[in-house]
Amino acid sequence: MNKIEEISEYLQKGKAKIVKKLVQEALDEGMDPKVILNEGLLDGMMIVGGKFKREEVFVPDVLVAARAMNMGIGVLEPRLVEAGNEPIGKVVIGTVKGDLHDIGKNLVTMMLKGAGYEIYDLGVDVDAATFIDKAEEVHANIICMSALLTTTMPNMQGVIDLMKERNVRDKYTVMIGGAPVTESFAKEIGADYYTADATSAAEVAKKVAKSC
């Protein structure tokens, strides 16, 4: 097994300290930081995502893998900046106004990061203007919204309505998710995509990046 494969393997096992050490060794051996990122860390994270989608692993496994990915990226980051590495796109994400649920949105964030996106996480209880202002500020490609409650789902519509009012609806891909959210609800409010789980969200976001 070569170093890159080792990084991917240990990331999948959630061994953060080993991943950090291996990334440093790979850099010291002169490996391209972009290869370490894409073929080691992000590849490992996408494999975990696939297993999660197939219910072969569970949320704790995704979390410890993401923790390992973040530790590896921490080592790589200065070299990636030097190498002029660009993310595949930018995502603004948050849980909509009135809703304080966090974990589903955070899992999507981890998987999108694993897909190569730069993430702007606005947290919970986010109002419509904040989503749009941040997307405009960072020139995002995607706005992702989460809701766990039937009473807060309509606030997703509010974001889309405000985007139309400000004539920016077509600038962004809108993705939504959350326990009570459905495909038909996404169609009804004019969102571009509904995904049922974090891995599916990352898969869709990767396709969106390719089409940009």
């Binding site: 219910e55 704790p60 979390l63 589903g104 947290g123 326990a179």
Partner: protein, 343 residues
């Protein structure tokens, strides 16, 4: 409205016979937010329908705030600010298990002898009565650590989690003893969401190591006290259900719609545990018509109803402002009408 007797409800739970209709417990999850916050209107409206089980909430500790007469009767070990601007599952009271704050947390663990534990207003004792508290093991764990830390703790801090869960089990067992000493209690009902919309939060290995032993302790304690043990656990938890049955869980709620298949659950487990079927609150109640509500009631009853009991009906979760009264009316009417057929 006539309610079922204590014995009829017990018989249903234990599979000793169905009553004239399934016990109806919708009221336990219908709050005054459906009635513009008016408790009087709520009570009057619900009085038209059966309320087969009486409930009482034990005054378990608040996360942050302690009562004046016991500064340690709270989960936080030290003074903390409210964290209302943060996600429910992202508030972190214990940042690091290897810190002084964690030591303080264990040292100042709430005392189950706190005199305010039992509410002043006691249940009437006329009907089957449950004592409730929310946040069992996993929910209490993540309320202290934040959801992400809590889920990783199973891998990163197993010893600390065993320590925490045993302390919680000891606390819970003592408050159960006190509740049964001071009131007539027929069952305990706690919450612990272990599932997501698609699957359990964690693996069967984690369940077996961290949950099964401690659940067994409190379920055995309930039985020693002559009470049933009821568990609310949202999401898809089918992976854990056989082992909950093995350790003696009496009532499972809600078998959440869209996460598990009702008929399959009924076929596999319907003769081994009482299903407190939770009516769909993600789609049918907030967005459906009264006729769709009636259809869903018939579907649930067709799936779960048995001659030996083992079925009670309630809501899938607590009420939100978008619940419609006409839908709730249809729910009650159809549950009584269709639930009584051939009885």
């Amino acid at each position: 409205m006539n309610c079922l007797t204590r014995q009829e409800v017990k018989d249903v739970i234990e599979g000793r016979g169905a009553a004239g209709r399934p016990p109806i417990l919708f009221d336990l999850w219908i709050g005054n937010n459906v009635f513009n916050g008016d408790e009087g209107v709520r009570s009057a409206w619900l009085a038209k329908y059966p309320q087969d089980v009486e409930d009482i909430f034990l005054n378990i500790p608040d996360l942050i705030h302690a009562p004046a007469d016991d500064p340690n009767y709270r989960w936080a070990g030290t003074d903390m600010d409210d964290m209302e601007d943060q996600g429910l599952d992202a508030r972190i009271l214990i940042d690091d298990w290897e810190s002084e704050e964690a030591e303080k947390f264990f040292e100042t663990f709430p005392n189950p002898e706190y005199k305010g534990l039992i509410p002043e207003k006691k249940p009437s004792g006329e009907r089957y009565t449950i004592a409730r508290w929310w946040y069992g093991f996993f929910e209490r764990h993540w309320s202290l650590r934040g959801m992400e830390n809590a889920l990783m703790d199973f891998y990163l801090y197993p010893d600390e989690i065993h320590h925490l869960y045993q302390k919680l089990a000891d606390f819970y067992m003592r408050i159960m003893e006190r509740a049964c000493t001071e009131m007539k209690i027929d069952g305990f009902f706690i919450s612990d969401d272990l599932g997501t919309q698609k699957s359990p939060f964690f693996s069967q290995d984690i369940f077996r190591e961290f949950f099964k032993p401690y659940y067994k302790q409190i379920i055995v304690k309930a039985h020693e006290l002559g009470a049933h043990f009821w568990l609310h656990t949202c999401g898809n938890i089918e992976l854990f259900l056989p082992e909950f049955i093995e350790i003696g869980l009496d009532v499972i709620h809600p078998i959440q719609k869209y996460t598990m298949e009702e008929k399959q659950i009924a076929e596999k487990y319907g003769d081994q545990i009482c299903i407190l079927a939770g009516f769909d609150v993600q789609q049918t109640i907030p967005f459906g018509t009264p006729e769709e509500v009636r259809k869903e009631v018939r579907y649930l009853l067709d799936a779960y109803q048995r001659d030996d009991g083992r079925l009670m009906l309630t809501m899938g979760n607590g009420s939100t402002e978008d619940w419609k009264l006409e839908s709730l009316q249809a729910l009650y009417e159809e549950a009584i009408f269709y639930g009584s057929r051939n009885r």
